[in-house]
C-alpha cells in the first residue's frame, strides 16, 4: 500500500517520531506525537482508498466515539459547527467515520490537517451548556456596558445603606425611580434575587425590579413562581433581553 520511500519521508518530517503498526489486515495505525489532552494518542489509521492512487487517512469513528463520552451532536446548531469544521479541513464523514484521501507524497500534510480537525472536533466539548452557562454573566455585562450605556448602568449597587448583603447586579436610572436588574442562571441567585426584591419592598423603596434569566430551565418551577411573585418584570433569556432591553428601559424611564 505504502512504499518504504514514502514512509521514510514521513518519518524524517516527524523527526523520526513516526511509525506504522498493522492493526488489522491493511489497516495501519499511525504512531506519531499527536496526542489528546488526557495523554492518549490520536486514533489515526492509514488504509487504501477506493481510488488506488490515494491513501485514506481515517479515524474509524474513534473521534466521535471519544467526543460522545461527554458531548452529543444532537442539535442543528452543533451539527452546523461540526460540518463547518469538517468542510474547513476538507474532511469527509461517512456514518461517523472521518477520513481524507491524499496522494502518498502528501500524507504528512494530510496527517497534520486530519489531526487538527480531530483536535477541533474533540474540543466541541467546550460548547457544553455548562461552559456557556458560566459565560452568562460576562455576556450580560458586555451587553449592558456597551449597548445600554445611555441608561447609565451602575454595576453592584446597594440600595440600602450599610447592607451590602442586598446587592443589585445593575441599577439603571438611580436618581429617579430606579430599575434594579438581577441576572439569574441558577437556583442560588434566583433565591437571592427573590429575597432582595422582598426586602426592598418591605423597606418601601421606590423601584422596579427586572430579572434576566439565562433560560427558563435553569431554575425549578417553585423558584420560578417565587421570583415571578416578587419581581416586576422578567426576561426569559439573555437573547430576549438583548432584543427588547432598550425598548423596555425607554418605556420604564418615561414613566418614572
Amino acid at each position: 500500500m505504502l512504499n518504504q520511500e514514502f514512509i521514510n519521508d514521513i518519518k524524517q518530517r516527524f523527526n523520526n517520531y513516526f511509525s506504522l503498526k498493522e492493526k488489522r489486515e491493511n489497516i495501519f495505525q499511525v504512531f506519531a506525537p499527536l496526542y489528546h489532552p488526557d495523554g492518549d494518542m490520536m486514533d489515526i489509521f492509514l488504509t487504501e482508498a477506493p481510488d488506488k492512487d490515494l491513501i485514506r487517512i481515517t479515524d474509524y469513528g474513534l473521534t466521535l466515539m471519544r467526543l460522545s463520552y461527554s458531548f452529543d451532536i444532537d442539535t442543528p446548531n452543533k451539527e452546523k459547527i461540526f460540518n463547518k469544521i469538517l468542510a474547513e479541513n476538507s474532511i469527509q464523514n461517512e456514518n461517523g467515520i472521518l477520513y481524507i484521501d491524499v496522494k502518498p507524497q502528501y500524507i504528512y500534510y494530510g496527517l497534520l490537517q486530519f489531526a487538527q480537525a480531530i483536535s477541533k472536533i474533540t474540543n466541541m466539548r467546550l460548547y457544553k451548556r455548562e461552559v456557556i452557562h458560566s459565560l452568562f454573566f460576562e455576556m450580560l455585562d458586555e451587553f449592558i456596558m456597551t449597548k445600554l450605556q445611555k441608561f447609565n448602568p451602575i454595576k453592584k449597587f446597594y440600595p440600602i445603606p450599610d447592607h451590602e448583603e442586598y446587592e443589585v447586579d445593575y441599577c439603571f436610572n438611580h436618581r429617579r425611580r430606579p430599575v434594579y436588574l438581577f441576572g439569574v442562571n441558577n437556583t442560588a441567585n434566583a433565591r437571592l434575587a427573590t429575597i432582595c426584591c422582598q426586602k426592598f419592598i418591605a423597606e418601601k423603596l421606590n423601584f422596579t425590579s427586572l430579572i434576566v434569566l439565562e433560560s427558563l430551565d435553569v431554575i425549578g418551577k417553585k423558584d420560578q413562581a417565587r421570583l415571578m411573585s416578587a419581581a416586576d418584570k422578567q426576561f426569559p433569556s439573555l437573547d430576549d433581553f438583548q432584543k427588547y432591553a432598550e425598548e423596555y428601559l425607554e418605556r420604564e424611564l418615561l414613566q418614572s
Partner: protein, 121 residues
Amino acid sequence: MSSLDGKRKFTVFIRQHNLFRENFSIGLIYHSEEGSINLFGCNGNHGEIVVDILNPVPHYGYHTHIITAELLDNNVNEPRKVELTNEYASFEQALAYFCRYVNIKDCSNYFPFINQPKLFE
C-alpha cells in the same frame, strides 16, 4: 447515578468500538454546579499513551485515567494521571473492575457477570 446520600450526581459512559474491540473506554463523570469533571476511566489497549505530553515516555496497554487534586488546582479538568494496569485484559473485566473501583452498589443487577469469580484466583 448518585452518591448514597443522593447529593452528588454522576454519569457513566461505556463505549466499545465495533471493529477494534480492544478500543474501549468506561468512565465516570461528576456533575457539580461549576461543571462536569471526568474523574476516572478504564481504557483498552488502543495504542500509545503518555503520562506527560511535554516529556513523553510512551506506554502501551490497558490503562486507567484519573483526575487528581493537583490537576484540578492547575485548572486541568482532564484525567491526565495515567497508569498501566493488570487489573483487566478485556472489556468485560474492565467493566467489573470499574464497578468495584467506583463502588457502584447493585451493579450486578444490571451486569450479572460482574460477580462471576475468576477461575485462576
